[in-house]
Subunit: 244 residues, 2 copies
């Protein structure tokens, strides 16, 4: 019937007071809080308790603590850092499979490609075409260029996300590809045909985007993600190290 009457932990109360000041814009990004020794007197807590509160706020991405004279807790602008980190922790902790990631990517990247087709600017278009040229070059150079090819592949996807101008798409793409990297980067090698097939996929997607054909871009992006995943699965099965 009733909720807890109060927060018994003092440091939580301090966290809430400072967080509320930041979110209500009484403290703006760039502002520096008073020094710990002043703050502890204002809040009437010990320095240790205050510091525990500051650590929590730092972890939330709300402040950044600077050393030395004129240092102190600087209010941060909101950023995607904490979301990305906690997302990465979840993925790592749950040992999500590559296929799960691929299914999720298909939806996100398909929609991103569709929006990119509607929003792309001429300068972005030429940048994308440059990436495609690079991808084709890497694909022809053979298996040692696998890492370089994957890097370009990643850049194409991240560029498409950026073109949507949707910050959620951008950060989700970054998170996904960071985690994909962790899976592959150590040992994967692609053969030339696979790289060329993938380069062709990317070229088709980009062409649909340049044509402004949102539905075709979506469809091709989705198929590309699944094809890439299928190929990777088959490679991983061959390479499976029994020690893992």
């Amino acid at each position: 019937m009733f909720r807890a009457a109060k927060q018994n932990k003092i440091f939580q109360d301090v966290v809430e007071q400072i967080q509320e000041a930041i979110l209500s814009r009484k403290l703006k990004p760039g502002d520096v809080l008073p020094s710990e020794r002043e703050l502890k007197d204002m809040l009437q807590v010990s320095r240790g308790t205050l510091r525990e509160a500051l650590r929590v706020l730092e972890q939330k991405g709300l402040i950044h603590i600077k050393l030395g004279v004129g240092g102190g807790a600087v209010v941060q602008d909101a950023s995607f850092g904490p979301v990305r980190e906690s997302l990465a922790l979840l993925i790592r902790h749950q040992k999500v499979s590559l296929t799960h990631l691929a299914e999720f990517r298909a939806g996100v990247e398909g929609e991103a490609a569709a929006h990119a087709a509607k929003r792309i600017t001429p300068s972005e278009a030429s940048q994308l075409q440059g990436l495609i040229t690079q991808a084709e070059a890497r694909a022809q150079q053979g298996r040692d260029q696998t890492q370089a090819f994957l890097k370009v592949d990643k850049d194409v996807h991240l560029s498409l996300a950026a073109i949507t101008r949707n910050p959620i798409s951008v950060f989700v793409h970054q998170s996904i590809h960071d985690n994909i990297d962790r899976y592959y980067e150590r040992f994967l090698v692609m053969d030339v045909e696979a790289m060329q097939e993938n380069a062709q996929d990317l070229k088709d997607i980009v062409n649909a985007v340049l044509d402004g054909d949102a539905e075709k871009a979506r469809e091709l992006a989705i198929k590309h993600v699944y094809r890439f995943n299928t190929y990777m699965q088959s490679v991983l099965e061959k390479n499976t190290d029994p020690r893992d």
Copy 2:
């Protein structure tokens, strides 16, 4: 040429050591770490420094601290809490708009609907149909049932995510809908026609899923998300409180 030789801050080193032990499963969910007084001796740091590290790990959602005898830092199972909280902070900072969220939802929920169409079981099918019946009932009961209707709407989307059996889809849906709730729940009222239109959308999506028609399910889900967002935007504009 060189990177920083070491982490100068001791508490960060402690955070990393414990986090590594948890992520590598040397410490499993439910395990209790030694008491602070023992840990500080093992790590050769002061209790204050150790507590700052524990506060960071708690904020990351990796441990939960229990009071009293037999208490201590208990290793947590991975949870959505930190992602939700940091996403909510971003939204409150207005770095992310509802339209951004809607664009993202469209991709994720479209793909989820498509997979659900291929994977749904008979018992899940009847559960979904039950939800649709509820939605239609709420929609006819008028504006006071807006909250109840939105609840059912949310349940339909979360059910579709669950049917995919993809843990990423499930947690992303939960995160998104929690944050949408926080936006709306205080003041939103939908009129009867809008609710009925939405109920019809849901019914059409579910029917496509039951028919096993993945592409149609995807298309309908995407359109539903955008329609819902457009409606919400128009309502929010009317209701805009100048004091905000």
